[in-house]
C-alpha cells in the first residue's frame, strides 16, 4: 500500500515502543486484523467471560466505592481522620494498621520501638478497636482492613466491636485482606510458615461463608507485588495463581466452591500506562471467569466474577516535584475506572515524602470525584471496549498471564513456586530491570531523570510524634491491670489448643479478644503452636 510505504519512510522518535519496561511491543497502528477473534471474546458487560464488566450496568447503576486507605497514630487520631474523610464524601473505610499489629507484637514489645502508630493505627486490644469506630455505625458502613498474618485476631475484634454497637454480624459489610501468600512474595508481614498460614486463611473464609455472608473473606492482592517490581503481566498472573491456591485449599478442606467463591475479592495496582492497565483489568476478569468455570467447574456466575479494589501506584510517585504526582494519580485512577474496578483508593501526592497530609488526602479523594462526576467516562460501560489496540493488548496480556500460570502449575502451584523462590526471583529481576532503565534514561520519570528542577522546596508533611508511643504503651499497661487476667490466660490456652487441632480458630479468637487478650498475646499463643517463619534470602 502506498500509504504504508510512506509511513515507513517517516522517522519515529524511538526505535521501538513498549507498554512498560520489558512490556509488550506497541505497533504504530492497530486495525481489525489485530483482533480477529474479538466478537466472542469481547461479549457484553455482565456476561461470561465478563471481559467488559461484571455488571451489565457498570457505573451507570452505582459508582465504585471511594475507599481511602487511612490510619496513623492512635485510635483517637485515626477516628478523627475517618470522620473527616466521610464528611468529604468517601463512601467506604479502609484501615491501615501499624506494623506491630500486622506482625503480631504489642506496642511495648522491643521490636515495636519506634514503629508505634507510624504507618498505620496502633491496635493492641479490643479496647482500641472499640474506640477506633466510636461514632461510626458499623452496621451501616463498609470497611476494608489491610491485615494478613493477624487477620483472624483483627477480624475477631471487628466483629466484637460491631456487636457491642448492636450490629448483627451476618449483615456486616467489608473486606479483610487475609492474603498471606503475597506476604512471602512482597510486603513481608508474615509471622508463621506458609502451611499454618494457609490454614488460618481458610479458617476465616470458612467462618465468613457461614456467619458473614456479605463479608469479603479474602482480598487476593497483586498490588504489593507490583510495588515490589512486578510487571503488569506478572502482577496479574501471580495474583491469579495465588487465587487458584486459595480456591483449591478451600476445596481440599471439603468446601463446595460456590459456598465461598462469590465472596472472594481481589486487589490490584494501576500504573500510569493507562491503556496497558485497562487491558490488564479486562484480561484479568476474563481469565478468572475461565479458571472458575473450566478448572473448578462452577456454574454460578457470581463465583466467576472477578471483583476488585484498585489502588493507584505508590512506587511511581516521586519525591521530586511532588505536585506532578497529582497528574500521575489522575491517570492511574482513570485507568482503574476505565478498567471497571469496584472500589478505588487514590494516593496522595506527598506519599513519597511521608504519610499524607489532610490537604493531600483531600485532593486525592477529589480526583476520584472529578473522574466520577465530571469526566463522563463512568456514563457508559467499558468505553474502550472494541478499541483495536485495547482489545489486542487484552488478548496479548491474556497470553502472557496464562504462560506464567502454566509455569507455576508446572512447578506444582503457587505455594511451591513461592517456597522455591521462583515468584520472588521473577519480581526482583523486573525491579532491577526497571531501575536500570530509569538510571539510563530509557524509562522517563518526569522530574527525576528528565525535566529536573533545581532547589525544590518540600511541602509540609504529617508527622507522628514520639508521644504516640508513650500514650499507647501506657494505655496497654492500664488494660493489662484492669482486665480479668485469669480469664485471659484461659482464653489464650484455648486459642493454643484449637490452633493445634483441626477446629476453626475463629470462635476461640472472638472469645479471646472479648476477654481483652492482646494482639501480641494471641499471636504468641499461635507462635507456640506453629513456630515462626524466616525468609530465604533472594536478591
Amino acid at each position: 500500500m502506498a500509504e504504508d510505504k510512506k509511513a515507513k519512510e517517516m522517522t519515529e522518535r524511538k526505535r521501538e515502543f513498549r507498554t512498560t519496561v520489558d512490556g509488550i511491543l506497541v505497533k504504530r497502528v492497530y486495525t481489525p486484523a489485530d483482533v480477529e477473534s474479538a466478537p466472542e471474546q469481547i461479549g457484553l458487560p455482565g456476561e461470561y467471560p465478563f471481559t467488559r464488566h461484571i455488571m451489565p450496568t457498570g457505573y451507570r447503576g452505582r459508582l465504585w466505592t471511594m475507599r481511602q486507605y487511612a490510619g496513623f497514630g492512635t485510635v483517637e487520631e485515626t477516628n478523627e481522620r475517618f470522620k473527616y474523610l466521610y464528611k468529604q464524601g468517601q463512601t467506604g473505610f479502609s484501615v491501615a494498621f501499624h506494623l506491630p499489629t500486622q506482625e503480631g507484637y504489642d506496642s511495648d514489645h522491643p521490636l515495636a520501638a519506634g514503629e508505634v502508630g507510624k504507618c498505620g493505627v496502633a491496635i493492641d486490644s479490643l479496647r482500641n478497636m472499640e474506640r477506633l469506630w466510636e461514632g461510626i455505625p458499623l452496621a451501616e458502613v463498609s470497611t476494608s482492613m489491610t491485615i494478613n498474618a493477624t487477620a483472624p485476631i483483627i477480624l475477631a475484634m471487628y466483629i466484637a466491636a460491631a456487636e457491642k454497637q448492636g450490629a448483627d454480624k451476618s449483615k456486616l459489610n467489608g473486606t479483610v485482606q487475609n492474603d498471606i501468600l503475597k506476604e512471602y512474595i512482597a510486603r513481608n508481614t508474615y509471622i508463621f510458615g506458609p502451611t499454618p498460614s494457609m490454614r488460618l486463611v481458610t479458617d476465616i473464609c470458612a467462618y465468613c461463608a457461614e456467619a458473614m455472608p456479605q463479608w469479603n473473606s479474602i482480598s487476593i492482592s497483586g498490588y504489593h507485588m507490583r510495588e515490589a517490581g512486578a510487571t503488569a503481566a506478572q502482577e496479574a498472573a501471580f495474583t491469579l495463581a495465588n487465587g487458584i491456591a486459595y480456591v483449591q485449599a478451600m476445596i481440599d478442606r471439603g468446601m463446595e466452591v460456590d459456598s465461598f467463591a462469590p465472596r472472594f475479592s481481589f486487589f490490584f495496582a494501576a500504573y500510569t500506562n493507562v491503556l496497558e492497565e485497562v487491558a490488564k483489568f479486562r484480561a484479568l476478569r476474563r481469565i478468572w471467569a475461565k479458571i472458575m468455570k473450566e478448572r473448578f467447574g462452577t456454574t454460578n456466575p457470581r463465583s466467576m466474577m472477578l471483583r476488585y479494589h484498585v489502588q493507584t501506584d505508590g512506587f511511581t510517585l516521586t519525591a521530586q516535584q511532588p505536585l506532578n504526582n497529582i497528574v500521575r494519580v489522575t491517570l492511574q485512577a482513570l485507568a482503574a475506572v476505565l478498567g471497571g474496578c469496584q472500589s478505588l483508593h487514590t494516593n496522595s501526592f506527598d506519599e513519597a515524602l511521608a504519610l499524607p497530609s489532610e490537604e493531600a488526602v483531600q485532593v486525592a479523594l477529589r480526583t476520584q470525584q472529578i473522574i466520577a462526576e465530571e469526566s463522563g467516562v463512568a456514563d457508559t460501560v467499558d468505553p474502550l471496549g472494541g478499541s483495536y489496540f485495547v482489545e489486542c493488548l487484552t488478548n496479548q496480556l491474556e497470553v502472557k498471564i496464562m504462560e506464567y500460570i502454566a509455569e507455576i502449575d508446572k512447578i506444582g502451584g503457587a505455594l511451591k513456586a513461592i517456597e522455591k523462590g521462583y515468584v520472588q526471583r521473577e519480581i526482583a529481576n523486573s525491579a532491577y530491570d526497571y531501575q536500570k532503565a530509569v538510571d539510563s534514561g530509557e524509562q522517563v520519570v518526569v522530574g527525576v531523570n528528565k525535566y529536573v528542577a533545581a532547589g525544590e522546596e518540600m511541602p509540609e508533611t504529617l508527622e507522628i510524634g514520639e508521644e504516640t508511643e508513650v500514650r499507647q504503651v501506657e494505655s496497654l499497661r492500664r488494660l493489662r491491670r484492669e482486665r480479668d487476667n485469669k480469664k485471659v490466660r484461659e482464653m489464650l490456652d484455648r486459642v493454643f489448643t484449637v490452633a493445634r487441632s483441626d477446629e476453626n480458630v475463629m470462635p476461640a479468637m472472638i472469645e479471646a479478644v472479648k476477654a481483652y487478650a492482646t494482639v501480641g498475646e494471641i499471636s504468641d499463643a499461635l507462635r507456640k503452636a506453629f513456630g515462626e517463619y524466616r525468609e530465604p534470602s533472594i536478591l
Binding site: 521490636l111 519506634g114 504507618c119 513481608n188 508481614t189 515490589a228 513519597a352 532491577y432 531501575q435 536478591l539
Partner: protein, 134 residues
C-alpha cells in the same frame, strides 16, 4: 588492585518494603562491591553484630516505615560503641528532608532519597571511603 569495598545492606525495624534495599544491593554488587544482604525485620543490635563480624566498610540501612529517627541513630551509635566506628553508615527510604540534619549529626553520612540513581550511591560511597583513607 584495591580490596573490594564490603557493604552490608539491611532493613531495621518491622518494615517489609524491601524493593529499594534489594535493588540497591544488587546494583552495588554490579558496581563491583562485595554486598551482604542481611534481609529484613532486624534490630539495630543484630545489624551491628553482623557488620562487625563481617568486617564491612559500609552499612546501608533502608527504612520506609517512618521509624527512621528511632532506628537509624541507634544503629550508628551502637556501631561506634561496639568498635565499628570506622564503618560508614548510609541510609535510604522515605525520610523527610527536615530529619536529615539530625540524622547526619547522629552519624548517618548520607541519606539517599527516592529517585537516586544507583551510580550516584556507588560513587558517593567510593569517594567518602577514599576521603577517609587520606
Amino acid at each position: 588492585m584495591d580490596k573490594k569495598i564490603r557493604v552490608l545492606v539491611a532493613k531495621p525495624g518491622l518494615d517489609g518494603h524491601d524493593r529499594g534495599a534489594k535493588v540497591v544491593a544488587r546494583g552495588l554488587r554490579d558496581a563491583g562491591m562485595e554486598v551482604i544482604y542481611l534481609g529484613l525485620r532486624l534490630t539495630p543490635e543484630q545489624i551491628v553484630d553482623s557488620a562487625i563480624q563481617e568486617d564491612v566498610d559500609v552499612v546501608g540501612l533502608s527504612c520506609l516505615s517512618g521509624a527512621h529517627m528511632a532506628l537509624l541513630p541507634k544503629t550508628a551509635s551502637l556501631l561506634r560503641e561496639k568498635g565499628g566506628k570506622d564503618i560508614l553508615v548510609v541510609a535510604g527510604g522515605i525520610v523527610p528532608s527536615k530529619d536529615i540534619p539530625q540524622l547526619t549529626k547522629a552519624g548517618i553520612a548520607r541519606v539517599f532519597g527516592p529517585g537516586t540513581p544507583i551510580a550516584e550511591i556507588a560513587n558517593s560511597i567510593r569517594t567518602t571511603l577514599e576521603g577517609k583513607k587520606r
